[in-house]
């Protein structure tokens, strides 16, 4: 038997659907506009004739970018930072989270505090910057004189992610670990054969957090990498934006497409990889926030 909809309920439903649709489309609009503007003709872009759909189609902005070595260089730098950065962060976080999840670890509370304190108190950007300058020499003397590697090992660690992993490892039943030890597994085998397979979804979530933050990283890459040829895509995009929103630089623009189209094309290229994997990873992110939301 179907219940008749109350009038108040009906009104609320209509309001909900309408406002959600409007908000959803507003969230999406800047991205759609960016795509349209990147493939529209010069006149249409410069005189803001595009509202949603592209006009006077052209693909020269993309063509120019795909032929530009600078662009591919920046893209490969971003890939480098993302891949090695995620692997390194995950390596550190899994080992640390595993050790912290063990009740028999001495000074466990001290180590936990060491971690959690960084969530309460952060030195701030100026001391961090001064610290990078001061410690750079130490790493150079150790043979790490490549700025890119320094960014890989220094950046992107978050106490929250280690705590997520620690909680996941704590939830693995102790009996399974004991069984593995009785069967003669070493500490490393217990970790790789028991704990990691049993916490797969949390590890996937944390890996995605790391990867997204590496892919999107801008500020510290800009500060720490001195060679401009080694800068990642985000820095490249920002430089182009600063260059072409300056009227003087714009005055010398002679291409058949607008300078704006080039920037929009860059933006599209930067978000496409995220858009492609986004439908698959979206559910992990939802899970991750719930797990990390209101715990301890």
């Amino acid at each position: 038997m179907r219940r008749r909809l109350e009038i108040s309920e009906l009104i609320f439903k209509i309001i909900s659907y309408t406002l959600l649709t409007v908000f959803g489309l507003l969230c999406l609009y800047p991205f759609l506009y960016a795509i349209s503007a990147s493939i529209s003709g010069r006149h249409a872009v410069e005189y803001s004739e595009i509202i949603l759909l592209p006009k006077q189609l052209q693909f020269e902005a993309f063509g120019y970018m795909f032929r530009s070595n600078e662009f591919w260089n920046a893209y490969s730098n971003t890939l480098f930072l993302t891949i090695y950065g995620t692997v390194w962060s995950l390596f550190v976080a899994i080992l640390g989270g595993y050790a912290l999840s063990k009740k028999r670890l001495l000074f466990r509370k001290v180590f936990n505090f060491f971690l959690v304190f960084t969530m309460w108190f952060s030195a701030g950007i100026v001391p961090q910057y001064l610290n990078y300058i001061a410690t750079k020499g130490v790493f150079t003397s150790m043979g790490i004189n490549d700025d890119k590697w320094l960014v890989v090992i220094a950046m992107g660690m978050a106490a929250m992610n280690i705590i997520l992993l620690r909680n996941a490892f704590e939830n693995v039943p102790g009996e399974i670990e004991e069984a593995a030890i009785v069967d003669g597994a070493s500490e490393m085998q217990v970790l790789t054969k028991v704990f990691i397979p049993m916490s797969k979804s949390t590890i996937a979530t944390v890996a995605l957090f790391f990867a997204i933050s590496r892919w999107n990283g801008y500020f510290w890459a800009r500060q720490m990498i001195s060679n401009s040829a080694e800068q990642p895509l985000q820095v490249f995009i920002r430089d182009k934006l600063e260059f072409y929103t300056d009227g003087e630089n714009l005055a010398t623009w002679t291409e058949n497409y607008a300078a704006d189209s080039l920037i929009y094309a860059l933006i599209v290229c930067s978000i496409v990889p995220i858009l492609v994997i986004y439908p698959f990873i979206q559910k992990y992110f939802a899970k991750g926030t719930n797990a990390g939301g209101v715990k301890e």
Partner: protein
């Protein structure tokens, strides 16, 4: 009488009425005596576990704790060339300079107070406008019965969260960019739309909304809602769908319409989540995203009036006055930490209260 010195070792044996030695206390003493020996043995036995900790400890030591040592530069002579360790302790003159601003510190101190005020205002408006949005969105999402439609809308609204700050700010800059009178080009599409519906004067749109200090806070909040409201609604939505359908049914039988159900069923059920999120947010009040502020205001000196926050203020003076920059950050961080700890304490109490 019980001899005082031996009190811990002796217990009264009820059966005989005499004092005898307490064997458990002897074990405890033994453990005490050999404490460090036992610690060393435990570490040797489990050396692999401690080895696993080392990378994490080193990463946090080098890039989280060493910067805190650099923060001590706020007590030292202002000389960017020398490292902190080679400078003299200068007392609190950097702090005094920023707070009171006597002599040469006058303008600097004014800028510091301006940055402090902006930091608070950006946070406060975020609390006022940004905080309720995810809750409202979650209430709306709950009305969408079709899973397919809801997931599509959720995918749309979460999306901006996954874009980098550079992409977000680039889109903002482009969509509301200024027009040019030389080449007779109009301003960005969103600026045009806003001026045509009368929200902003046409001259502001033409000169660039981002160049106008009056609108910086609004831009910051609106782009913030665009970026995070959808994603932040996840927590509230999870709390709402956890409400048992029988609660609604009971309310309906009692004749509650939609508004009454909202008021008496939904809101009380998600109140603890709201309180916890609110308190967490208050705890983070002083940590305004420096990256976004820098990217939106870099090179637009006129907007510093509303756009300069403590971290960007410190960043801009770091090259010439690193001691003052550290002092500014130090004050920001200490107050921030007090807020976080206070908020955590209240949250724990609030969560307990909501448990009954």
């Amino acid at each position: 009488m019980k001899p005082i010195e031996a009190a811990d070792y002796l217990v009264l044996d009820k059966a005989t009425g005499c004092y005898r030695e307490d064997p458990e206390q002897q074990v405890r003493d033994d453990v005490e005596k050999h404490y460090w020996k036992n610690v060393v043995f435990a570490i040797i036995k489990d050396w692999r576990l401690y080895l696993m900790l080392i990378p994490m400890l080193l990463v946090f030591l080098f890039w989280r704790y060493l910067p805190m040592y650099e923060l001590l530069g706020s007590f030292k002579v202002d000389d960017a060339v020398k490292p902190v360790s080679q400078q003299w302790f200068k007392g609190f003159s950097n702090f005094k300079g920023l707070l009171v601003g006597t002599g040469t510190y006058g303008e600097l101190s004014m800028n510091f107070w301006r940055a402090l005020r902006n930091t608070f205002l950006l946070s406060f408006y975020g609390l006022l406008f940004g905080f309720p949005m995810p809750i409202i969105l979650a209430l709306f999402f709950n009305e969408v019965r079709s899973n397919g439609v809801r997931s599509v809308l959720q995918v749309f609204t979460y999306l901006p969260k996954f874009m980098s700050t550079v992409i977000m700010t680039s889109l903002v800059v482009m969509l509301i960019k200024q027009g040019s009178s030389a080449s007779n080009t109009p301003p960005g599409i969103v600026a045009q739309a806003l001026s045509s519906i009368g929200l902003i004067p046409a001259s502001v749109a033409q000169n660039g909304i981002l160049n106008n200090p009056t609108y910086f806070r609004a831009i910051y909040q609106i782009s913030g809602i665009w970026e995070t409201a959808g994603y932040d609604s996840i927590v509230f939505f999870a709390a709402i769908i956890a409400i048992s359908p029988t609660s609604y049914e009971a309310a309906q039988i009692d004749g509650a319409n939609k508004w009454a159900q909202m008021r008496y069923v939904v809101l009380p059920s998600i109140l603890s989540t709201i309180v916890i999120m609110l308190i967490t947010r208050i705890g983070n009040m002083l940590s305004i995203g420096y990256e976004k502020v820098l990217l939106l205001s870099e090179g637009r000196i006129d907007t510093y009036q509303t756009a300069e926050v403590i971290s960007t203020f410190a960043w801009r003076i770091k090259n010439n006055q690193s001691g003052l920059a550290s002092a500014a950050e130090m004050m920001n961080n200490v107050v921030g930490m007090l807020l976080v700890i206070g908020a955590n304490t209240i949250a724990r109490k609030a969560a307990n209260v909501s448990l009954y």
